[in-house]
Every structure is written in C-alpha cells, then in structure tokens.
C-alpha cells in the first residue's frame, strides 16, 4: 500500500521534470502533429482500401500518427530517458533510498501511458478538426482503449528492455531510433503497405508488435475489423520486454 502511495506521489515529479525537458516534450508532442501535416500534404490525397473499406488517406494518417505518438511517448521516451537517469546516477541513488526501485520506474511507466492517452486525444482532435477524420466511438472505442492501454504499457516495457544493451547516455538516442524507425516504415506507419508489398515486409509486420498495434488503433478510427490477436501479440511482446528488463536491468551507470 505504501509503495502504491509513493508511486502516485512520484508521478508528480516525473511529470514536472518531463515538461521542463524541452527536447523530450517537443519530440513527443510536436513531431506526431508535424508529421501528420507533412504526410497528409505529401501523400494524403486520395483513398486507400483498408479491409474492403474505402478510406481517406488523411484519416489513415491520423490513425498512423496516433500510433507513432504513443510509441514515441512510451518506447522512445523510456529507452532514452531511463538510460540518461541510469547514467547520471539517479537510479542508483533511488536504489539506495527507501523507495523501491520498481515503484520509481512504475511511476515513469504510468506517466508515459498518461502522456500517450493525451497525445492520442490531441492527434484525434487535430485530425477531426482539420481532416474530418472520424473519432472512435461506441463499441470500437472500447476496443480502441484496450489496445491503447495494452500497447503503451507494452512499448514502455520494451523501452525498459532496450536500456539493457545501451552502454551509455550518448548512444541511447541512436540505438533507440535504430531499433524503432525501420520498424515504423516496415509496419506501414509512415507509408501505407498494400497487399502487393514484398513478402518479407509482410512478415516483419506479422512478427514485430508495431503493425499489430497500428492496426488495432486504426480499427478504432477507420472502423475496420478489430482483431484480438493484435492485442495478444503486442501484449506478449510487452511481457517478454518486462521479463528481460526484470532480469537484466541495471540501476547503476555503465559508463
């Protein structure tokens, strides 16, 4: 019970520090909207066939950028932010205090999930206002929220896991981006992947969690069929990330 109270208290400090780090806040909040404007201007005219439904490309990008925003706020933010805190000795210091280390990290994860929800709300509102994109409602809203919560939690866990092979603060952004950017492209987040894409790209999408997550959010925006298998696969990835982090996570600076 004490740990829960301490975790909730800690979220306040995580939030304060988060908004005062201009780089982090800018990247997570400005990038998705900026990309949305750029992609819809460049590629967003016309329609796309999604599961037999004719969909505006601009709506497609509203859903895709919502996925991108969540992944930035969870996986990228955790991977880079936690590595910096590890290397600066803050995590070691927490480990030597009465606050259980996992409570401290849980506060960061919960905060990232809250930021994810906020980002999706902003992206959806922006899409609705400027591109007349639909907003998830009714039954699809429930599915949508399930995928959002499981997805952001899972990508946070994967963000914790990726800190394990990162040797120092300087290389954290490079390693985190090198692991996620190719996947974002190969999972259709930046450029729609049609049925005629090479088989290996389709397989990358099936194996890794990004496409499943993006499809799940897309179902909420576009009204395509929602697959529980998408939630399951994303959740399994998250569970594996959590296990790896629990086993190999370092509280002390590596460099």
């Amino acid at each position: 019970m004490k740990a829960v109270k301490l975790t909730l208290w800690q979220i306040r400090y995580t939030n304060k520090a988060y908004w005062r780090n201009p780089a982090a806040a800018f990247f997570t909040f400005a990038f998705p909207l900026m990309f949305l404007v750029i992609f819809t201007s460049l590629l967003g005219h016309g329609h796309i066939d999604l599961g037999g439904r004719r969909t505006d490309l601009s709506t497609y990008y509203v859903a895709a950028m919502a996925s991108f925003a969540v992944i930035s706020a969870s996986y990228v933010n955790m991977g880079i932010g936690v590595t910096f805190q590890r290397e600066s000795g803050i995590l070691k210091r927490i480990e030597g205090s009465p606050l259980p280390g996992p409570a401290y990290l849980t506060a960061r994860v919960v905060h990232s999930m809250l930021m994810s929800v906020l980002l999706v709300v902003i992206t959806a509102a922006f899409g609705w206002g400027f591109y007349r994109a639909a907003i998830p409602s009714g039954k699809s809203l429930v599915f949508f929220l399930v995928m959002l919560v499981i997805g952001s939690a899972s990508f946070c866990a994967l963000g914790l896991a990726i800190t394990v092979p990162i040797p120092n603060a300087e290389s954290s952004a490079a390693i985190v981006n090198a692991t996620i950017l190719p996947l974002l492209f190969l999972s259709g987040v930046f450029i729609p992947i049609g049925d005629h894409a090479p088989a290996w790209i389709q397989w990358v999408g099936r194996i890794f969690p990004v496409r499943h997550f993006a499809d799940g959010l897309q179902a909420g925006f576009v009204g395509t069929t929602f697959h529980w298998s998408d939630v399951l696969i994303v959740g399994v990835w998250g569970a594996v990330g959590l296990l790896l982090a629990a086993r190999f996570f370092s509280w002390e600076p590596r460099a």
Binding site: L6, W9, Q10, Y13, K16, A17, Y18, R20, N21, Q85, S88, G89, I90, K92, R93, E95, G96, S97, P98, L99, P100, E252, P253
Partner: protein, 327 residues
C-alpha cells in the same frame, strides 16, 4: 517483509557502534579489491577512510551501503546486515555517492522534497536547505547550479530523511578551495547534530579537519588507524628543529646538530623546551643571530605517504608514484 524477526537489528551487534566491519573481503574477477578489513565506527563519530585512488575505499563503502555483496567477513550497519537489503535500514541511511546524482530539471526544493517523501520521518525541507547553505538557490533548477552547489544538493538529499548514519564518498573531489571550506562546514554541522558520518577522501587536510578518527587504507587493507593527531605514531615522532646561523659558527655539541645543504642546521630532540633553551642561551651569549627557526613534526601527509608507500611496496597492486616519494 516475510520474516521481520530475522531481518530486525540483531542482538549481538554492539549498540554503541553504528558500523562494525570484521574481516571484510571483496574481489572483482580475481582482482582483490578489499583484502580483510576491520574497523568500527562509534555512534556520533565522524570517521574518515583515507587512501589513494583504487585503494578500496569506495568498494568498502558501497558494501556498507548495500550496493555490493561482500565475498567474506562480518558487517553490521546500525545492527543490520547490508548484504540483505532491508527497507528499515534504508530509512536510517543518507548516501552521497562519489559522483553527483541529481535530476537537472527539478528545483533544489523539489529534489529534496521528492526524496524527503520516501522517508518515514523526514527533516523539514527548508531546514535541510539552510543546513547546506543553498537558501538563495532553493527555487533554482538543478541544471543552473555550479558543481559545488550540486554537490551540496547531494548532501542535502542525503539529509532529507534525517538519517542516523551518513555516507559521504569523496564529497569534495573537484572543488575549489572555498567550495571545499563550505562543504567542510556542512559536515561539521552534521557532526554537531550528532550524526554518525563515514567519509572517504584522499585529501589529508579534509580528514584532519573533519574526522574524529582516521583509517588509512592502501591496496585493499587498513594500514593504520587512529585520531588524526596520533595516527601512525605521529604524536610520538621526535620533533626536529631547523635553523640557519652565519657560516663558521657551530651550535653546542650537546644538541648533536648536523649541517645539511646550504648552511641549514637540524637536530632531533625529545625535550623541545630544554633544547630551545640551550640553543637560544648559546646564541645570546655568543651574539649569534638565528634565522628561519622552525620546529617540525611529521604532518598527516608525511605519515600517509609513508603508510601508503609501504603498503604499495609489498603488494601486487601498485598505488602509483607514492612509493618512490615516501622514502
């Protein structure tokens, strides 16, 4: 959590000691970092571990803090075994790590407040800020503080939980002289509050100024222990008198003085009062002018160099150039 009885303070630990260490050993991949250390720290005492880099100071302290597991020996910290982490023990400790560890985006006040909240009986944040002399910076973000101020914030964070025992691992390394003085006053204040302090340092003057007792550690073991004034037989070493007299004059033979280079004369004595009387009476009677008269005792630094040099000489782990200078 499950077995509170087994994790509570043990009965055999001496209540008067905050820290007891017996036969402590630790190796890293076959390299022996700590090779059998014994010491104890009384409650309310400021104890300094003095030694060169790589001597095993930080390894020892981090074992006591619970960051490292020991290979062998008995360790008791406030009656607990730090090899088995207890949240009750963490409630009683204040830890300042060797490198600063602060969140750049929080303010001084927030940073201290955040840590204070983890403890059952925190000290008021304003009081802690006052104690380390950061009152004017209380609303400044950490990123705006100087290195010395960040270090003082480190100490403030360690004080936030009103700990019984404080670990300060090289608290003033990299400070300029005035910042060091400031930090020393902070530690003096802590001692005045009755806190037990374990300090590591490689500065002789720091140990001398702050510590009630000093242990000199070199190549993984303690080579001397005592008060700064008596360590290494410092108080028993015979004082030496040194002076200059005009060329051709010879001081009284009973002083057994010898002339060194450049006309400087020195002698050692057990009875400094009588020796000085003999010398000055002789000078006045003969009308000799004595210049540059000094009475020399071995400084803590002399003793330290001698001790750490000896340890380095018979060890596989060299401690640098100290050995050559000690002779």
């Amino acid at each position: 959590m499950v077995d509170d009885a087994a994790t509570g303070p043990n009965a055999r630990g001496d209540r008067d000691y905050a820290v007891e260490v017996r036969g402590l050993t630790k190796s890293y991949g076959g390299v022996r970092a700590v090779t059998g250390i014994d010491f104890h720290i009384a409650r309310g005492e400021v104890f300094a571990l003095l030694g060169p880099n790589g001597a095993g100071k930080t390894t020892t302290v981090e074992i006591l803090e619970g960051f490292r597991r020991r290979d062998g020996g008995d360790v008791s910290v406030l009656g607990y075994d730090p090899g088995h982490p207890h949240s009750q023990l963490h409630d009683l400790l204040g830890i300042v790590l060797q490198s600063s560890a602060v969140d750049p985006y929080l303010t001084v006040e927030e940073m201290i407040g955040m840590f204070a909240h983890f403890f059952p009986h925190p000290r008021p944040v304003g009081e802690v800020i006052e104690l380390v002399g950061l009152s004017e910076k209380r609303s400044s973000r950490v990123v705006k503080l100087s290195g010395g101020q960040q270090r003082r914030l480190d100490v403030a964070i360690a004080l936030a939980g009103d700990p019984e025992l404080l670990f300060l691992d090289e608290p003033t390394t990299g400070f300029d002289p005035s910042a060091r003085r400031g930090a020393w006053e902070v530690v003096k204040n802590l001692a005045a509050l009755g806190k037990t302090v374990l300090l590591t340092t490689h500065y002789m003057d720091e140990a001398q100024y702050l510590a009630d007792r000093v242990a000199v550690i070199a190549a993984g073991r303690i080579v001397a222990e005592g008060t700064p004034a008596t360590i290494g037989g410092r108080d028993q070493a015979r004082p030496r008198v040194r002076f200059r007299v005009p060329a051709g004059t010879r001081p009284p033979a009973e002083l057994a003085a010898e002339t060194t280079t450049a006309g400087i004369i020195t002698f050692a004595t057990d009875d400094i009062t009588r020796a000085l009387h003999t010398l000055t009476t002789w000078a006045i009677d003969r009308g000799v002018v004595i210049e540059g008269l000094e009475i020399l005792r071995p400084s803590l630094e002399d003793i330290y160099l001698e001790l750490t040099g000896e340890a380095a000489g018979d060890s596989s782990q060299p401690v640098g150039s100290v050995a050559g200078e000690a002779g």
